[in-house]
């Protein structure tokens, strides 16, 4: 994989994700009510909020799985809500999405799970030899090369998260969206995953949004944090800055 090994946040160019005044409701349930966000190249941004606050909806809007009601949503300078299916596929090929439950394909081995998106993507053509190399490299990056022929049912929760990350990395994305990457894991494994997110950022120079309510994960893996409360970005700062704020809503996360 030809990734930039040197990690740095690029504030000079346009943000890779630019959201202004985003609204999304499901019936009478108004989830996002004018949410704003800017993600810069090479940056890890943690979005924290209570359960049901719309964190997962936010990243599903970004990847085009959920249509927005109103607002500006630019990803790599493209308005996601105005793309046709082919254009959306092209954009998605530059974005990795790590699902909360890993979403590994049950009926396939780890190798097949990794090969699946690459073999089928209409815009990426690779030979069998390249495919083998990419699978090996992606599994090495997450430290699970020995699991190549295992089935998802044979993997632990932490291993599943790592394999899902490898499946994301194999597409060489510019942006990675993590949906609760440490949920359901013990503290030790959760820390390993948080450090792995950092390692991916440093090694592959990806920009990431990390949806989490795990404070330790946000502290380890993010450069900046947003508190999502009542459908808006209630507060936006670094972990240290947020920790010193006296606001009750913010401090509720730091208890």
């Amino acid at each position: 994989m030809s990734y930039d090994m040197q990690h740095s946040i690029d504030y000079k160019t346009a943000p890779v994700i630019d959201i202004e005044g985003l609204y999304k409701a499901f019936g009478s349930n108004r989830v996002l009510q004018g949410f704003n966000l800017k993600l810069w190249a090479g940056e890890n941004l943690a979005v924290m909020g209570k359960s049901g606050s719309g964190k997962s909806v936010l990243i599903k809007c970004i990847i085009g799985l959920v249509r927005i009601d109103q607002g500006k949503l630019l990803v790599l300078d493209q308005a996601v809500d105005q793309l046709n299916l082919r254009e959306l596929d092209r954009l998605r090929s530059q974005i990795g999405f790590q699902f909360q439950g890993s979403a590994l394909y049950d009926s396939m081995t780890v190798r097949e799970n990794l090969e699946f998106p690459l073999k089928r993507h209409p815009l990426k053509q690779v030979t069998e030899k390249e495919l083998e190399l990419l699978v090996t490299e992606a599994l090495e990056a997450v430290g699970l090369l020995n699991a190549i022929n295992m089935m998802p049912s044979e993997l632990s929760g932490g291993m599943k998260k790592r394999i899902a990350l490898a499946r994301t990395l194999i597409m060489q994305p510019k942006i990675i969206l993590y949906d609760e990457p440490t949920s359901g894991l013990d503290p030790v494994t959760a820390k390993e995953i948080s450090l792995l997110i950092n390692e991916v950022q440093n090694r592959f120079h990806t920009a990431s949004i990390i949806i989490t309510h795990d404070l330790a994960c946000a502290r380890i893996s993010s450069n900046r944090m947003i508190i999502l409360h009542n459908g808006i970005n209630y507060a936006e700062a670094t972990y240290t800055q947020l920790g010193t704020m006296k606001d009750g809503v913010i401090q509720a996360f730091f208890v």
């Binding site: 990847i63 085009g64 092209r90 090929s93 699902f99 439950g101 049950d106 089928r120 209409p122």
Partner: protein
């Protein structure tokens, strides 16, 4: 009123889903390997069940009809009567109903489970087309395999009937089958095979539709499997009714 509205809405959604199948099935990429795998799974896993029920149906039908035919002195008509009944009606409908139960529910539960665990979303965000990989392959596989299972079931049913005739009336297998084909015409076989394609398509599309649009988490998986069987079975009867009406027009011509 609400139920009626939901019925029409669901019918519309299923039609739209089937329409998407026809729009996307012709264009690459073609998931040939997955299609062959699904054909194997559907054919291989259903063959034993279809064979056993077909055999029993052939035996039972012959045993039940025999006394009446003897009473009317028409026992020699047994092969032709059983042959026409099985090939035209009992074979296709029985096989389709069994497959609706086994395959329809299996596909529904599998896709619903994939939906719940976000595997379908994962395929979509990776740029792969989950509809092509999951739906087109399964619907095509059921459309291909159910007519094959129907023909095999017909053969096994007739063999069961021939066995009864051999044991009870001393009729040889050669004589039994020559009598069957004396009366059975191509016009009996063709509508039966054609309607089996429709049965296969209906079973596949209902299973996939229910699974692909499943909601309500894990509870939804069981509900999806159940609904897939009920709707697919009902659709088999409706399609059979239409097929019989259409074939009847051709018989009269």
């Amino acid at each position: 009123m609400k139920k009626l509205t939901r019925f029409f809405l669901t019918t519309g959604e299923i039609s739209e889903f089937a329409g998407r199948y026809f729009r996307e099935a012709w264009f690459p990429p073609y998931e040939i390997q997955e299609l062959l795998k699904q054909c194997f799974l559907i054919g291989n896993k259903s063959f034993a069940l279809v064979s056993i029920t077909g055999l029993i149906m052939g035996i039972v039908l012959t045993l039940q009809t025999r006394p009446t035919l003897i009473e009317f002195g028409a026992v020699s008509m047994m092969p032709s009567m059983v042959g026409i009944a099985i090939v035209r009606e009992i074979g296709p409908v029985l096989t389709a109903l069994i497959c609706a139960g086994k395959i329809g529910s299996g596909i529904g539960a599998e896709l619903a489970s994939m939906k719940v665990t976000e595997q379908i979303d994962a395929m979509e965000v990776s740029g792969a087309n989950p509809f092509k990989y999951l739906v087109i392959t399964r619907v095509t596989a059921t459309t291909i395999m159910i007519p094959i299972l129907v023909v095999l079931s017909d053969i096994i049913s007739l063999s069961g009937s021939a066995l009864v005739e051999y044991l009870k009336g001393g009729v040889s297998f050669e004589l039994y089958f020559s009598k069957v084909f004396e009366y059975l015409q191509f016009g009996d076989l063709l509508p039966s095979v054609i309607k089996s394609f429709f049965f296969g398509f209906a079973i596949g599309i209902i299973g996939c539709y229910k699974g692909y649009t499943s909601t309500r988490g894990t509870e939804g998986v069981g509900r999806t499997a159940n609904e897939a069987v009920v709707i697919a079975s009902m659709l088999v009867f409706i399609l059979d009714f239409i097929a019989v009406l259409v074939s009847d027009i051709f018989y009269e011509l």
